[in-house]
Symmetry: C2
Subunit: 781 residues, 2 copies
């Protein structure tokens, strides 16, 4: 890679004090701490060069503590959210209040960076551009605050320019790895995109010249009665807009009305510039994105192996017969317990069996190194636990009617029946609720849903229903989510309907807002119906899988939007006004006489303005969707200067041509991977081991529809219908197939086939390597 990346070295084992010299000395707590840190760094692909002294490790563990991270992100959000309260504000706060809040944020960020500086060696700290970046941002913010405060006190008008820098903190904090990667991937694609862009611009300029020659002297008029295509720069802008198709038939109508042959010019233009060039942009972005990401993933994998080798070096022991160094099961167990205290003993034992395939009681480096990946494979542990009702009232629960009920609820028809009820409910929701029959049917449906939940609670083990995974854990299957989601919705709907009815009898008309939300939630129940079809599940699974990556893109979009919103607010604030009162005559021209009779005012776009951060963001979303962006940009150009269009064109190039294309490329790639990939080797070996140990859950049932199977499972194991399942072990495992704990794991999977085998090969001599791996950094501020 060509970028000046900050490389950080894992501390040389020889520099650490705890390198065992073949001795079989018992490992100290510090050793386990260090090894656990290495393993969890490898698991989460953290590339931080930390001191290996015990107190530095304790500081480092603190640094990685989730609470501190959450705190950091909360303060980043607060810092970004200040824009809501600052002039131009959605909810104005006095200047001293926002300044105080910002000072607090700056303080927290400073504390965090000082903490980071304590964790890693000083020279490494100062070599990392992202640290410098944060420090510079914090200093600039302070300087700007002082200037602003002073000038404000002197009643001068001044721009808070440092607000543009705020989102860069999101990029440069240690945890913003994904985001930095996205930015790097964009930066690397830029030269190629630029080449295509130049060619595209050439084509645009040439077509504009042709248009000027062809149409300029014909005295044609646009629909507004203005001269048509007689100014070169206007033509360039119009044709650029045509590339986005935003002014599609309108721009050619005057020419078309004059003679049909002129449409040929526009058709050729659209074919070349809109279809071919835009596809080429996608191709270039896609190709570069893929190429670069592959390289990144390769380095991640190398770094991961390297860290695992370090952990091994810490825990290794020399066998008496002088063979290869190895790690004993006891040490391994303690390490895993420390790294992931949440996994069950059975699960840990299973993992050990995968590593120690031949039951030696110890493992070598090769088997040890794959621990990080093993821990990242989500294994569902199914415990056979009797239903609490069975323990309490075994007689009743085992009675014939109870068993019949259980069998009924477990039956496919039960699910189908409730799917149908949901569908009917959806139709009823669509109908007019003023009709008393319909509004009363509401109660019938709610009763049915409550009945469904109660029945399921009766039949299935409640813990499996609620507690195993956290509610919103996106690693659960969509079915589990939707089942729980169902429950939540039903309960919410129940409460809301009761409150609503209670209030209705008291007041004449209640707040619609709460009810709206409940209505929407109820409609979402339909998701479960769709998910029941096998043909749709692959698509839905892929969509769920790319969810976390979409969050990265969301951050990227927020960073870019925030910067544009800040600049846009300084440039265009209060130029266009929105009047709530529809009788105000100024409403017709958005409070700015310059907009009289423009398309902007006629289309009633007054609320699309830069008067506060929320409306700025909404406007930027509209610009991203592209349509009518020329009307919006022309509107703002009218109230300021024609060069204001440059702001909008730059936004279009950056967001629509580059970022949206990268997003499309990511979705494409994720789907291609979905279409082409199987489980990877490690998953296969884990699965083989599960089967070998006869701990496998009946495969064919679980393959695709986990929730159905789990429900059946839970029943088989839990309701005491033990005729066929008595000889099953009381602990079963199932790989939550094809899902990934982290975005990195998904990426690794995506590019696994293209990686060099040697990236995966165990390095025999970690010390012999350069020992360096890049710590992604975002160098440009």
């Amino acid at each position: 890679m060509s970028e000046p990346e900050k490389s950080e070295n894992i501390p040389d084992a020889s520099a650490g004090k705890e390198v065992p010299n073949g001795g079989n000395s018992a490992k100290s707590k510090e050793d386990f701490d260090l090894a656990a840190v290495y393993v969890s760094d490898a698991m989460y692909n953290r590339n931080i060069y930390f001191d290996t002294s015990p107190q530095a490790i304790r500081l480092y563990l603190l640094y990685n503590h989730w609470a501190l991270k959450v705190l950091l992100y909360v303060f980043i959000l607060v810092n970004l959210g200040l824009a809501i309260f600052e002039e131009p504000a959605v909810f104005p706060l006095p200047t001293w209040a926002t300044m105080l809040l910002e000072l607090l944020c700056v303080f927290v960020f400073t504390f965090r960076i000082v903490h980071y500086a304590k964790v890693i060696p000083r020279d490494k700290f100062w070599k990392d551009p992202k640290n410098i970046c944060i420090i510079v941002i914090l200093l600039l913010t302070l300087v700007d605050m002082i200037i602003y405060g002073a000038l404000r006190a002197a009643n001068c008008s001044i721009i808070r320019w440092s607000r543009v820098l705020r989102p860069l903190l999101l990029v440069n904090v240690t945890e913003g790895r994904q985001l930095r990667r996205a930015f790097r991937s964009i930066r690397n694609a830029l030269p190629q995109i630029f080449n295509v862009f130049l060619l595209f611009m050439f084509s645009l300029l040439m077509f504009s010249l042709m248009a000027l020659k062809l149409l300029g002297k014909r005295n044609l008029k646009t629909i507004e009665g203005l001269p048509y295509f007689n100014n070169y720069l206007e033509i360039v802008f119009d044709l650029y807009v045509l590339v986005t198709t935003a002014n599609s038939p309108d721009v050619m109508m005057p020419a078309y009305n004059s003679h049909s042959m002129f449409t040929l010019f526009f058709i050729v233009y659209i074919l070349i510039n809109t279809y071919i060039f835009m596809s080429v942009f996608l191709a270039v972005v896609y190709n570069n994105y893929k190429k670069y990401l592959k390289e990144e993933v390769r380095q991640l994998v190398r770094a991961k192996r390297h860290k695992m080798a370090r952990a091994f070096a810490v825990l290794q022991e020399q066998k008496e017969d002088g063979g290869q160094p190895m790690v004993t099961q006891a040490n391994w167990n303690q390490l895993v317990r420390q790294v992931r205290p949440d996994i069950s003993n059975g699960h840990r034992e299973l993992l050990w069996h995968v590593c120690d395939d031949k039951n030696h009681g110890f493992i070598g480096k090769g088997a040890f190194v794959q621990l990080a990946d093993l821990l990242n494979i989500e294994v569902i542990t199914l415990k056979s636990r009797p239903h609490p009702l069975q323990s309490l009232f075994p007689k009743i629960y085992q009675s014939a009617p109870s068993r019949l009920l259980c069998r009924m609820v477990q039956h496919r028809a039960f699910v189908i029946a409730f799917d149908l009820i949901i569908l009917v409910n959806a139709v009823f929701i669509g109908l007019d609720e003023e009709n008393p029959l319909i509004s009363n049917s509401e109660w019938v449906f709610l009763t049915l849903y409550v009945l469904e939940i109660l029945l399921k609670l009766y039949v299935f083990e409640p813990k499996a229903f609620f507690s195993r995974y956290s509610f919103w854990n996106c690693l659960s299957t969509p079915q589990i989510i939707s089942t729980r989601f169902d429950t939540l919705i039903v309960v919410t709907a129940l409460i809301a309907t009761i409150i609503n009815s209670a209030l209705k009898s008291l007041v004449r008309y209640t707040s619609r807002q709460i009810l709206d939300i409940v209505f929407i939630l109820r409609v979402l129940r339909l998701l479960r119906v769709v998910d029941g079809f096998k043909r749709f599940r692959a698509i839905i699974n892929t969509l769920i899988r790319i969810g976390p990556a979409i969050l990265t893109f969301g951050q990227l979009i927020i960073v870019v939007f925030y910067i544009f919103a800040m600049v846009g607010m300084e440039l265009f604030k209060h130029k266009v006004k929105f009047y709530e009162d529809s009788n105000d005559p100024a409403k017709a021209y958005c409070g700015n006489p310059l907009l009289n009779n423009t398309a902007f005012a006629q289309l009633n776009y007054c609320k699309n303005n830069f008067n506060n951060v929320v409306s700025s963001f909404i406007l930027l979303v509209e610009l991203t969707v592209v349509n009518q962006w020329h009307v919006l940009s022309s509107g703002f150009a009218t109230v300021t200067h024609v060069s204001a269009r440059i702001f909008f064109v730059i936004f279009h190039i950056l967001v629509v041509i580059i970022i949206v294309n990268i997003f499309v490329a990511f979705v494409l790639e994720a789907f291609f991977v979905e279409y082409s990939m199987d489980k990877n080797d490690l998953q296969t070996s884990l699965e083989k081991k599960i089967k070998e140990l006869e701990l496998a859950v009946a495969q064919e049932k679980l393959e695709d529809n986990l929730v159905n199977a789990m429900e059946t499972m839970d029943n088989d194991l839990g309701t005491g219908q033990t005729s066929t399942t008595a000889n099953l072990p009381n602990l079963m495992f199932k790989i939550a197939s094809k899902r990934y704990r982290t975005v990195d794991a998904l990426l690794q999977r995506m590019f696994e086939e293209d990686l060099d085998p040697e990236d995966f090969r165990e390095t025999d001599e970690p010390e012999a390597q350069t020992g360096s791996f890049p710590n992604p950094a975002f160098g440009s501020a």
Copy 2:
């Protein structure tokens, strides 16, 4: 593959009379005819099962004659073009005239299909769906014409419904292979697309329900003052349009004006449906397209090998010592001469050397089979020929000033200088030509261009400049094209300017049309400047390379557009009228009072109508570009019935979601291939041979910029500056790298890496194979 494809067998060699039984008998003319037919079928991937009797082969050769093919396409064009003259017509012709023309077309098509029936065995003929399809179309057309004629005579109004069938002829003629493949690829992707579409529709319906609940009862008004989002079907349509972004901010403005929070609904909707679902559509289309095409190409390659093996079987001779059968150089030479009479002796010799690597004087089957691919590699033959002026006036041409002039013209600066002149000219074109200085500068530039051409003619061998390739041969490098193009433009501009000046002195104002074209052509000269940059050449080369494939998509689009235009004309003709006279009051509502105050009329879209085939096509292009399609469809729904929107939605799904995505997929794939591929093995071995024989043109010079090199070359070889080049052979070769004679060759190249090696492996026992390969057919009418 799952589709019921028509398989055709290459006639079994055992069935033919001319299979040699190891005899060394001299090959008859019939043998060579048969072998040549096999080879050229392999070269052009024709999969026609023809009789092998000598007169059937003669008929077959006639059937493949270019003149007959051109004639066929001319009549297909005439048949399609009839729509221009038929009611509703652009240029009305009497009914009897169009009927007579159509009858003539039907006659020609019948003749062609009868000819085809003579060439192939009867049972094969009737098994091929595309023949049945043609016959059914022709019969239906006749029936329709008779009914129409009769009812027309009886003055009844009647629909010419068989016009919808016309474009299907384009698909079903033997030559429409590419087009059939495109249709098959679409058909195969349909089930998967349908799944995603169902999911998308579910999402659309669900969001519509939410929108109804959320916004329906708020008494909001659209900008036209109509109730907003209170009718479920209207919401579905509006949100469907939002997916295409055509009504992007407008549809949410009433909700946004009421409360900012409602935009959240629209943003989530756009994210899921516009961005994610549309990307998923692209992914599905792309994936299926690629998968299917790969399978097709695999079969093409197999069929090609098989045909070559047949040709070998015809020409093979047994050596005395009982070794493998082989083909002698003499027979091979005669075969190649017969297949491609246009290639030079030197080139043929080169190919032989590639095949007969060890100089045996004969080749086995393995070497023979690759002939078809070898002949498809474009080799540029550079003959060292002295400049005619050198032969005529050697003294003057070799004199010092002449040599200086030659060296000057050959210099890079000469090219750069003229590039600059073109740029300056472009600026002048952009300036106001009313200015006398500017309009006179025209003459200066023309003089300079003429001077450039004369100088080049003086320095370079004229034949290299003009005659080697046909003018528009797209296999030439872009540079050669642009150089020749330059010449053409300059000559045209010269003539046009002279005519214009002559006329100007006679009449006050001349016809602008001719001048416009010349102006446009002059602007195109700038292409040469861009092409001079290396960084752009890869992109331009790829764009040129996908040109032929775009033609296939063009045919596809024409077929689909034609059908929609025919249906649209029957549904909507004369509902909307365009008034040339701007004073007509009916112009404000396009001649249809129903359109009063609609967006359609207000935006002056009156000329976007289905009143004749040309405006229908233009309207369909506008619908393909998508923007404002809701205004257009609502306009036509207003003048007919709300269900007319179905027509437009179907068009959108079919053209924008499927065909445009396939087009994008093709462009993407072509670029990925460009980024990743090198020359294939055969090209490499050919190039190695060229180098081995010391016939190579200096590689480094030619690598990327062929025209510069050729110019230098031609000079080196032709101007008699023989100091360094005297010992060069007088014949040189260069592979026109990475370009392909046929679309099939490009496709083969695109999927070469993914093909099984065994598809390329020489089959030792062609008779042992099933011997069948599919003849692409378009089964559905």
